[in-house]
């Protein structure tokens, strides 16, 4: 599930899950599912942040029009 999400979407979803859980209207079963999902989202966001290494490219005019070339 989390693999297809962008970082922003995952973060937003996590926020929503926390909110839903805080509202306290869930049954125990639902809450456990919600919790599991939330922890997955947390891990996803956390890994994205940790493992991120900035890629810097330069736009250049290539054979097939614009291309991105890695810098340095």
């Amino acid at each position: 599930m989390a693999e297809e999400l962008s970082f922003e979407e995952a973060l937003k979803k996590l926020e929503e899950q926390v909110q839903v859980l805080s509202d306290g209207k869930l049954s125990l079963q639902e809450a456990l599912e919600n919790f599991e999902e939330g922890i997955k989202l947390f891990k996803f966001c956390n890994e994205k942040l940790k493992e991120a290494e900035q890629k810097v490219t330069e736009l250049v005019e290539g054979d097939k029009g614009l291309e991105e070339k890695e810098m340095e």
């Binding site: 996590l14 899950q17 869930l26 922890i39 942040l49 810097v56 490219t57 736009l59 614009l66």
Partner: protein
């Protein structure tokens, strides 16, 4: 025929009672004339600086001169502090400001808000003209400003590949938000080739279709160096950009047309980089904060369910059950007592009602007349009322109802008799 009422009044006053003004009155009158004249407000004047001095309070005084005239000028501390040029006597400048009256000395003077070296005069005039034009067209309006994305994953940069700006930007983006990628559209940012090159960079980044935000700018330099960011084509390209543009030209004090059109102006390229991305460290702590909140809520929820289960358990113990039964019994008792009481009440009410109805019935009972000695004769066996002689034949049985019983009789004979009648 006199057109000017003030002249008319003055003439009139001369002949009648001459009005004597105070110096203050006249001075304030003159000052109002100055302040009401648009030719004297927010204007640019070209001249040479003479008798330049700075007061202890930080205000600057000088006289602006040309071949034939002089104009005393003052620049107050606030404006003087932001002034980039260093003034010296004999320097040709263009002063921006308003001409006003200085009442204490009875003279007029220029209150300067900006001073530029004369060599740049034409540029500034063009700058002001373009600024007014684009402003009138609405290019600076807030309603066109696009919000910056909170988490840009691809950041475009339009600047020189070799300049200080790109280094500063990459350093800060890498430190604050390494999760985002950077796409550089290298551009010439100085000289005549700069405007088309910058415009191309902006358009290329837009054409990629996957850039979330872009920084357009360059590091500090002379005013001429930064001038390409005052170019109309650059301003229009920034305005047309679908990708939000952060303008970052020169230093804090440099304001370009590009700054006004951009969705947001950053004081420097470094500041632009800070503006464009969140700090990952903040994000991390926010993320961990959320997790903590999440866990504590979960623990709270589970604890609540455990408590509920525990309290059901207590309820199932014999002592509690007995209490429950007793309690229910008592409830039942109360309900029953209440029911009986209301039942009794109902019966009493019914009895009273019956008695009342019985009395009413008595009043209309036809048999009541028997008490007064009347009797009712009924033909047997059908017990039909006998109200005429034709109702019976000789030999018929008759039942005679009297007060305390019935008398059985047999008809022995019958004859017609005339009865008294009221009519």
């Amino acid at each position: 025929m006199l057109q000017n009422p003030s002249i008319e009044r003055r003439r009139g006053l001369e002949t009648e009672e001459p009005k004597v003004y105070s110096v203050t009155e006249i001075t304030h009158h003159i000052r109002r004339l100055f302040q009401g004249d648009p030719t004297l407000i927010e204007i640019m004047i070209r001249g040479e600086v003479h008798r330049f001095s700075t007061s202890g309070a930080g205000h600057m005084y000088f006289t602006l001169k040309d071949e034939s005239c002089e104009l005393p000028c003052v620049m107050f501390r606030g404006a003087a502090e932001n002034l980039e040029v260093k003034l010296e006597d004999g320097q040709s400048v263009i002063v921006t400001g308003s001409v006003d009256v200085y009442p204490n000395k009875g003279r007029y003077q220029m209150i300067a808000t900006d001073i530029k070296p004369e060599g740049l005069g034409d540029l500034y005039i063009a700058y002001e003209k373009l600024k007014k034009k684009l402003e009138a067209e609405g290019l600076f309006k807030d309603e066109y400003k696009k919000p910056l994305p909170p988490f840009p994953m691809r950041i475009g940069v339009v600047t020189s590949k070799t300049g200080a700006a790109v280094r500063d930007i990459l350093k800060i983006l890498g430190r604050r938000f390494p999760i985002a990628d950077v796409v550089l559209a290298s551009a010439v940012v100085q000289g005549e080739q700069a405007p088309p090159s910058i415009v191309e960079g902006i358009q290329r980044l837009n054409s990629l279709g996957n850039v979330d935000v872009m920084i357009v700018g360059r590091g500090g330099g002379s005013i001429e160096d930064l001038w390409c960011f005052n170019d109309e084509s650059v301003a229009r390209a920034v305005f047309a950009s679908k990708v939000p543009v952060v303008s970052a030209v020169g230093h804090e004090t440099d304001f370009t047309i590009c700054d006004f059109v951009a969705d947001i102006r950053a004081a420097t390229p470094s500041a632009a980089a800070e503006l464009v991305v969140p700090d990952m460290m903040d994000m991390m702590s926010q993320l961990y904060g959320m997790r903590e909140q999440f866990e504590s809520k979960m623990i709270e929820l589970v604890t609540r369910h455990q408590d509920a289960v525990a309290s059901y358990g207590t309820m199932l113990k014999p002592r509690v059950l007995l209490d429950l039964v007793n309690f229910n019994k008592q409830m039942l008792d109360e309900v029953y007592t209440g029911f009986c009481a209301s039942q009794k009440h109902f019966l009493e009410m019914s009895r009273q009602r019956m008695e009342r109805l019985g009395g009413m019935l008595d009043a209309v009972n036809p048999l009541a007349t028997l008490d007064r000695g009347y009797s009712v004769a009924l033909k047997l066996p059908e017990k039909a009322i006998i109200d005429r002689i034709a109702a019976v034949q000789v030999g018929d049985g008759i039942n005679l109802m009297v007060r305390d019983g019935d008398i059985e009789c047999v008809v022995k004979g019958k004859k017609e008799v005339e009865r008294w009648q009221k009519s």
